[in-house]
Assembly symmetry: C2
Homo-oligomer: 447 residues x 2
Amino acid sequence: MLSVIVNTMETLLKNKKYSSLRDVLSTMNEADIAAIFEQIQSERLPLLFRLLPKDLAADTFALMNTDNQELLIRGFSDNEIKEVFDELYVDDAANIVEEMPANVVKRILKNTDPEMRQMINEILKYPEDSAGSLMTTDYISLRPKMTVDDAIKRIRRTINEAETIYTCYITDENRKLLGYLSVKNLLLAQREDKICDIMDKTIVCVHTLDDKEDVAKDMNKYDFVTMPVVDDEGRLVGIVMFDDAIDVMQDEATEDIERMAAISPTEESYFKTSDIRHAKNRIVWLLILMLSAAITGAILTKYEAACSAVPLLVSFIPMLMSTGGNCGSQSSTMIIRGMSVDEIRLKDFFKVVFTELRISIIISIALSAVNGLRIWIMEGDLKIAAAVSISIVAIVIISQFIGCTLPMAAKRCKLDPAVMAAPLITTIVDAASILIYFSIATRFFVL
Amino acid sequence: MLSVIVNTMETLLKNKKYSSLRDVLSTMNEADIAAIFEQIQSERLPLLFRLLPKDLAADTFALMNTDNQELLIRGFSDNEIKEVFDELYVDDAANIVEEMPANVVKRILKNTDPEMRQMINEILKYPEDSAGSLMTTDYISLRPKMTVDDAIKRIRRTINEAETIYTCYITDENRKLLGYLSVKNLLLAQREDKICDIMDKTIVCVHTLDDKEDVAKDMNKYDFVTMPVVDDEGRLVGIVMFDDAIDVMQDEATEDIERMAAISPTEESYFKTSDIRHAKNRIVWLLILMLSAAITGAILTKYEAACSAVPLLVSFIPMLMSTGGNCGSQSSTMIIRGMSVDEIRLKDFFKVVFTELRISIIISIALSAVNGLRIWIMEGDLKIAAAVSISIVAIVIISQFIGCTLPMAAKRCKLDPAVMAAPLITTIVDAASILIYFSIATRFFVL
């Protein structure tokens, strides 16, 4: 469907049917327009963008990708920059400024009004991963002594600058946060009610320097549409919107997944990252894991004699190594994800270890039975079948133990547990598997 | 901190300081109370719960875990059940009913009022993963001919049953969805304005049977707090709230991560799942992968002669297998995650393959150089160093090719790409690595 729409638009543009185009665009949601603009030939973009009604243009602009934003800004007159940026919410504006090259940033800041410029700078001064960098300063604040009538008047006056009126925050003259009031309770109240009598005084807020991941988790826990952000003195400095929190949660999940595959996470999308950058993100762990795997190789050479005496032994190495690796990475994955969604905590250490132990006993018996039977039937060698089966039991149990303890140990040492995922666990478990296998096998064959 | 609060509460309870307890509880947010209740000894729970003010009690109840909910309901009088359930939002009530054993469900439905009972049944009839099962029927609907004044009156009248008033939906007499109006625009409008003149007619909605994952993605795309759900005739039947959409997104990420570690995903949390269930979720893939790894073992036996002739060759097997597996799983992870956040689409197939090819060339050269040097220096055998280095180049390139193509092939066949993640890729790549290594090595040593 997207390609049909893009085609229609390009044809309308070519035939200069501007008023029809404007009509079509006006019926659409800004997110859809931004998606369409990503597919449009970039030289047509400025003309198409200028056809959008003013406030739809700003909303669409905020949702476009960085390349298109830069392309448009470079083509804008000073006046157009002012028009678009004055319509933007300050957090979106700050995000855009953050992504632009220095000369474009200079033009933007020159052409926005002083108040907007100051707010953008306010947000940009916070560390990249903090609540402060995620927040918007476009919120509605009320005073405790206002009546509901005053409050509604104030809201109507400031509504156009506010990103949301879902929750209004009540502050004193020093901007100290006193409570909040949902627009629902505001509408339910009597016109002459005092705000301080109807506001909710249970204050849940985050600090400007809190990690944005924790902020997103808190918002999810409390089901908040907005979360107030306060400074050291408890003064309200901004609010975090739910949609930005969702993006943080998605990015964190991506980061976890990448780290669990031994890739250094980036903020860029797959196609925006250069080949060299991609290679760099992957190569460090590959080198570490490659060199560690050499240890497994060295262990293997120690058992050269056994391999030559009973050559069949060698053929079970891949199966044992892979089973150990898979069991270990299953356990570590469960624990890592459990910790990142706060289902598993450090104090659950022994509970986790015992759970994994019980699971590993069930799994190891099942796997060793299947495998023992297969070898006995296919190779007809009961001794080898027994040696491999016993090895599987030991390998599965130890692999799951390593798989569940290392991520928790990493967390204990304040490292990201995700580094203890499949690749590293597999490498450690590989060495362990070979050791276990040969020490059991050599007993069977008394070499 | 949690343990301090729990301790305080238990002591207050023991000393029968009920009014202080009620004061303390009243200052807290429902999510915090639910978290505290999870730590409280279960025999104290009913008493503590009864100390909560009525509406806070219902909100807290909705956030408690299933075990505590069941415990409380079993202790409730019929009247208490009615009180709690009549205060609940219908989607929360439906969720609770879904989780309870049959005899408890019967008591709940017997004691809720007929309207609530009908709405619960309405939601429960939709398939588990559909928008219909996720929605709430507690929304505010307005008629196009109402004035702003009428609308505000209607909102004030129905506000207590509505889960959100952030967006009001406008429907005709057949409940057909005509448009929406944010409470922000409602407050901005003049009292005598007609709703049909100020409402937004760009309708973005989902169908009752749409997959809930797609609904969550759409809500994220449009930054919606609520998403309207319509039936086949375009009639509004409910709305999905942003907080439920966030939970869906988190669950989907967990599912992806579990599937990528060869674990069959469950909805239950780690500690709520029985050992047998845990073992079952992991064992199917373990068996498949174990038996496939036997193929690699069979390939290995084919090269028995080479191994006995040049025993050093064996010691590089783990390193080559693990490097191939890691490269393959890095690629597959990038592609799987890229597809699940809609960054990579099927039509990008060739773009992805060429990107991975370029990346693999950079990585393979770096890895083979480091490794060749290491072997040359440590073993002093240039021939082996060359054979291993050339193998690494071939293995890395082929592994990344397999890693990026299989997930896309799975998607093309309408399978979940996540099944083509690390464990399966590793097993396939292991066999390929051994084949490549020995066909290169045998050329060097002319065996």
